[in-house]
């Protein structure tokens, strides 16, 4: 192992054989009966195709459209989210934090990569990376700037560090000029990044008006 480590540090590229080593482990676990190959494919498909940010966008657009749902989502997020069917691992205990005229929220996991899978799917690489995890708590405004947005000084920036099994979702502000839009149309304005809090929801102007 020690030789492997030295070899690895001399080269920033991942070891070229990782693909083969993973294949070898998979075959071994299948041979031992510990991994059912159908279950493995099903699980990967689930997170590749089915469980993704569209779920969170649906919840946000619904909250924008229905004030009673919005209040429910903020008061009892687990029940409100379950009512839309988005229940699963890493989303058992949710808190939804709402952006307002006075507050902007940002979510991070400085210790690892905690993220609300049932609503956003698996996290992007940057969310799990050292630069984001290091900076988000000390310089959230700087992080948001790197994503191209600027949060006004008068707004309080609240950073939520996911250190427990609670998971956080940002409820972005509904953009102005979207009166009368359907939930499907509103979903187009909700980005995954806005639900993490590194940006705000898209403006309708940027969409060229109603989609």
């Amino acid at each position: 192992m020690a030789i492997d480590h030295r070899h690895h540090q001399d080269h920033t590229e991942p070891p070229p054989d990782i693909e083969l080593r993973v294949k070898a482990l998979e075959s071994l676990l299948v041979e031992k009966g510990l991994v059912d190959p159908e279950a493995l494919d099903a699980l990967i498909d689930l997170y590749q195709d089915k469980i993704g940010p569209a779920n969170g966008k649906h919840v946000v657009a619904h909250a924008w459209s229905d004030e009673a749902y919005r209040r429910w989502l903020l008061d009892d997020p687990d029940a409100a989210i379950a009512s839309m069917g988005y229940v699963g691992a890493q989303g058992e205990q949710m808190r939804v934090v709402a952006n307002t005229d006075d507050v902007h929220n940002l979510v991070v996991c400085t210790l690892c990569s905690c993220y609300p899978w049932p609503l956003l799917g698996l996290p992007p690489v940057w969310y799990k990376s050292a630069p984001y995890r290091a900076q988000a708590v000390i310089d959230p405004r700087g992080v948001i700037r790197q994503f191209g947005s600027e949060i006004a000084d008068r707004k309080e920036v609240r950073v939520w560090d996911s250190t427990s099994e609670m998971r956080y979702l940002v409820l972005p502000q509904r953009p102005e000029g979207t009166e009368g839009w359907s939930e499907e149309e509103l979903m187009e304005l909700v980005t995954r990044n806005a639900m993490i809090g590194v940006e705000e929801a898209r403006q309708p102007a940027a969409q060229g008006g109603k989609p």
Partner: protein, 223 residues
């Protein structure tokens, strides 16, 4: 453990370099998806818990932890755990050939496709009986104790010694410091607000606060 994983507030990693949201795949390489799937399915056998998995990755050599990609760390972690738990021998890992049978009680827990596809998807419960009454209530001033355990902990180093205000009591939940050692016990869990300027002094952003989830044993009352 004040390890290399405890990154909050560190400098020198350079800018965040996001791929455009619309272009980033869920997995960048096929092997990443296989590692993810294997870790989840083996994890569901229930031979270790999420805190043991985290602690395992936290104990990787620091230079390796930082140089590895995310799923390389998962791959390194799962191999260690498989051997440590006895599910796979070092020899089997080297040769890639099965040599020892798996005990029946473990085989009975092997996850099948219909279980994977049955919503709600593979949920867990983290709520545990409370060890006693909660010591703090929302609005209380608390200090994160200046403690540096050598084992697993979820109190990030940047809050230690700092004062905050309890925002919410999340009830009694499984306590990571013991859970990583295989002891499943509840402790009261709180969400605590720290002012940016209290944590970071002059380096703090204007008008900023950090909310951190902290178990009761990480906290002491602050008059």
């Amino acid at each position: 453990m004040k390890g290399v994983h405890d990154l909050g507030g560190m400098k020198g990693f350079g800018p965040v370099q996001p791929e455009p949201e619309s272009e980033e795949p869920v997995f960048h390489e096929e092997w990443e998806s296989r590692v993810y799937g294997i870790v989840r399915l083996i994890g569901l056998l229930g031979l270790w818990n999420i805190d043991m998995s985290r602690h395992n990755r936290e104990q990787l050599p620091p230079a390796e932890y930082l140089a590895n990609s995310y799923y390389e760390n998962w791959f390194a972690g799962i191999q260690k755990q498989l051997v440590r738990s006895g599910l796979v021998s070092e020899e089997e890992l080297q040769t890639g050939r099965a040599a020892t049978p798996v005990p029946e009680y473990i085989m009975e827990r092997v996850v099948h496709a219909e279980q994977v596809l049955g919503a709600p998807y593979m949920t867990a419960s983290y709520v545990r009986p409370a060890p006693g009454p909660a010591r703090f209530t929302p609005g209380d001033r608390v200090r994160a104790i200046n403690r540096h355990p050598s084992g697993h902990t979820r109190a990030p180093r940047y809050v230690r010694g700092h004062t905050g205000i309890v925002r919410e009591h999340y009830g009694s939940q499984v306590y990571p410091d013991l859970s990583a050692q295989g002891v499943d016990e509840g402790r009261h869990l709180y969400n605590v607000r720290f002012e940016g300027r209290d944590l970071w002094g002059e380096s703090a952003n204007l008008n900023s606060a950090v909310y951190v989830d902290l178990w009761e044993s990480y906290l002491e009352p602050e008059p």
